[in-house]
């Protein structure tokens, strides 16, 4: 599982999702998107950890801290996927996975 608890670093160690939002109101202002992201994260049972770097409209949603059994995590994952997939403002979303990168 992704080890990110915030867009700028690692955190809770629970699953996390990158979500690309488009403004429903059309103006695409950061503040509007931020509010949308907060609401969407809440609807999905996640916490909006903020914008991903400099990528406008991209947010990282993380699971609130706390140990959960694997079955529960899987149920949460399915619920989150369903909420994100069904939301009209979500242009793209992806659960964050660990990448293997090697020094050369």
């Amino acid at each position: 599982l992704a080890g990110t608890g915030g867009p700028d670093g690692q955190g809770t160690g629970g699953p996390s999702w990158a979500v690309h939002l488009e403004s429903l109101e059309g103006d695409g202002e950061e503040e509007t998107l931020e509010q949308q992201a907060d609401a969407l994260a809440q609807a999905a049972g996640l916490v909006n950890a903020g914008r991903i770097g400099e990528l406008q409209g991209h947010y990282l949603f993380v699971q609130p801290a706390g140990h959960r059994p694997a079955l529960e995590v899987e149920a949460i994952r399915q619920q989150v996927e369903a909420v994100l997939a069904g939301h009209e403002a979500v242009r793209w979303h992806s659960e964050q996975r660990l990448l293997r990168r090697a020094k050369r």
Partner: protein, 644 residues
């Protein structure tokens, strides 16, 4: 004429090769002209940078640095016996090690500033990569990345969605719109028959892909080949050959200096340093200008193993060495007189659905796509830079596939080399291969993709599902390119390399950097704790004031004699809060008291009536009663009464 007192400088053969003159990056002449990277910031994206070491500290840029593994601004590496997190510090030293400090070595761009982004020492995700690629992108000019997907000869990976978006955003918005420069190492999988076309960072059009050659100019055992290789520079080779001498960390067993830095990791930072030199003399070079200058100035050299082919535009390329060796003198002289290339033009073909079987070698599947003049009319694309092919192929053993792309000129690129260790059964799913071998050639014409199966299966098993061609280039014509080549060659004498000559630079864009302080969960917890404590303390304090006021109220009437200030708790005295309460008792004349109390009501004023109505008396009241023995609950109204 360049002399440094750094003890290891004489051993930095890659900077000044006295044993084999010419086999270095040709930088000393540039230094002599005070081109040292001044005003340029290079950031090493790696496992941290020990910025307190004396070869780094004076050039360190905290403004450009960050630790994404610990989520704080300090990229100091964390000692780790297993992983040895000295890698970033070594790379940083190659770029910007401080000269004449009697310590270790000298960096290629020793006048530049060096930053660090610590990201490789912990779990890494797509979103973290995306943050790293754009971190402080109005401060950092060049991102040096000596890492990538596993070079095990069977991995096909690269930046994912967010990483790709960040690379693209970086070249659009970084460096005030001139574009961040991303330098990546081509990979160390040579001994595993790996190839950098299976590395999405090396394939990306937004990166400068740098390979390694040893001191003798040969491809080391670890080096990879690919069609997207832009150029090479020096690094270590076999055991008998010298490695790169650079700064090291001094944690654990480190001494602050090493003679053993090698791999393509050691090559990429040298390239990053050379690009820093270019940006000093011409700060408005765009990310594409940098790529063009490398293509125009890299030098072909004799190497038995390198298969050099000269393309239609006159550029020589080999899959082993790209367009050749980077040469700091040539790069800087070219940069000095370089005017920007025209806007990036591109053409994307439709997705070409084929569903055709891939035959066994020596037979092959050949698919064509013709790009007509009409196709390019809209974009104005005339000459090529990068050419990319995105394929979806099913095959039970991916490493058995060989893909070649032929540009209209006939220039062949081996974009998909067979890999003996890659037995992945899933083939390629929308994987993008790219080549730079057609750089400067005409874009119009027929492109041929030739695929064959070099495996030893006895039947045809692979199927080309679909493919798509993407061309990148500009409106430059072949004549424009030849003119530019001539212009650059005329500048190689160094005649423009002085401060009096400077082409005008357009102003950069003002791009705000989103770098507001993000509250991390830990910070949030701390704030909540502090908040709770504050609330608790406030309640406690109010309670204490309340109780002491009640004591005072109990002393309101001092019928005779002085009325003493009620005793306060020891704690209140210690904390100095005693003075904050106004004494309600006074031995003054009642008239004076009235006069004094005409001002705005104090806390005590407001509290007193309530207190008087309450019948709950604390222990302190008894104590107050000793001070004021004549107190009564009935409030005195007569002037003869002493008023509290």
């Amino acid at each position: 004429s360049v002399h440094f007192n750094d003890p290891k400088y004489p051993q930095q053969w890659h900077l000044n090769n006295r044993r084999s003159p010419g086999r270095d990056i040709n930088v000393t002449g540039v230094w002599e002209r005070n081109v040292t990277g001044r005003g340029v910031t290079v950031v090493v994206v790696d496992d941290g940078v020990e910025h307190t070491i004396q070869d780094i500290a004076p050039n360190y840029s905290p403004e450009g640095s960050y630790d994404l593994n610990s989520n704080d601004p300090d990229p100091m590496p964390h000692p780790d016996v297993e992983n040895g997190n000295h890698h970033g510090t070594r790379c940083a030293g190659e770029i910007a090690a401080v000269p004449n400090n009697s310590f270790c070595a000298v960096g290629v761009a020793y006048g530049s500033r060096i930053a660090g982004i610590r990201v490789l020492d912990g779990p890494l995700t797509d979103s973290m990569e995306a943050v790293a690629f754009n971190k402080h992108y109005q401060i950092n000019d060049i991102y040096s990345c000596s890492w990538g997907p596993d070079d095990d000869g069977k991995t096909v990976d690269g930046p994912h969605q967010l990483g790709k978006a960040a690379l693209q955003h970086g070249v659009i918005a970084g460096r005030q719109g001139f574009g961040s420069i991303f330098v990546v190492a081509s990979g160390n999988g040579g001994q595993h028959n790996d190839n950098c076309n299976y590395d999405g960072y090396a394939n990306s059009i937004y990166t400068v892909t740098i390979g390694a050659v040893d001191e003798e100019g040969r491809m080391p055992f670890y080096a990879e080949e690919c069609a997207s290789m832009l150029a090479v520079t020096f690094s270590g080779g076999d055991k008998m050959l010298r490695s790169i001498v650079t700064t090291d960390w001094d944690l654990q067993k480190g001494t602050g200096c090493t003679e053993g830095h090698t791999g393509t990791s050691a090559a990429a930072p040298l390239a990053a340093g050379m690009i820093a030199l270019m940006l000093q003399v011409r700060p408005c070079l765009t990310w594409r200008d940098v790529q063009h200058i490398i293509v125009f100035t890299a030098t072909r050299y004799e190497d038995r193993r390198a298969e050099w082919v000269t393309n239609e535009a006159g550029f020589s390329h080999s899959h082993q060495h790209g367009f050749g060796l980077l040469n700091a003198w040539r790069l800087v002289n070219a940069a000095k007189i370089w005017t920007s290339v025209p806007y990036l033009a591109s053409y994307v073909s439709p997705v070409l659905k084929e569903n055709k079987a891939i035959p066994q070698s020596p037979r092959s599947l050949e698919v064509l796509w013709n790009v007509s003049r009409m196709d390019l009319e809209m974009s104005g694309l005339k000459t090529l830079e990068h050419v990319a092919v995105t394929v979806s192929i099913t095959h039970p053993r991916r490493g058995s596939l060989e893909l070649k792309l032929f540009c209209p000129s006939g220039m062949m690129s081996l974009i998909g080399a067979p890999r003996s260790m890659d037995s992945d059964p899933n083939g390629f799913n929308d994987w993008t291969f790219s080549t730079v071998r057609c750089w400067g050639e005409r874009a119009r014409g027929t492109y041929r993709l030739v695929i064959r199966d070099v495996g030893d299966e006895s039947f045809q098993v692979g199927i080309l599902r679909q493919w798509q061609l993407t061309l990148y280039g500009s409106v430059w014509s072949a004549v424009d390119i030849r003119d530019r080549q001539r212009l650059l060659e005329s500048a190689m004498s160094g005649k423009y390399l002085h401060d009096d000559f400077a082409l005008p630079c357009p102003p950069g864009l003002k791009i705000p950097e989103e770098d507001g302080y993000t509250i991390t969960p830990n910070t949030l917890k701390t704030l909540v704790l502090v908040g709770c404590f504050t609330v608790f303390w406030t309640v406690y304090y109010m309670l204490e004031v309340y109780l002491s006021q009640r004591n005072v109220a109990s002393n309101q009437v001092c019928r005779s004699g002085p009325c003493h200030w009620p005793h306060r708790s020891r704690k209140a005295k210690e904390e100095g809060t005693e003075l904050e309460s106004v004494p309600l008792c006074s031995s003054k004349d009642p008239d004076e008291v009235e006069t004094e109390s005409r001002g705005p009501p104090t806390t005590s004023d407001l509290l007193a009536p309530d207190l008087l109505e309450q019948g709950d008396w604390s222990l302190s009241q008894n104590k107050s009663a000793l001070d004021c023995p004549h107190q009564h609950l009935d409030v005195p109204h007569g002037k003869e009464e002493q008023i509290c």
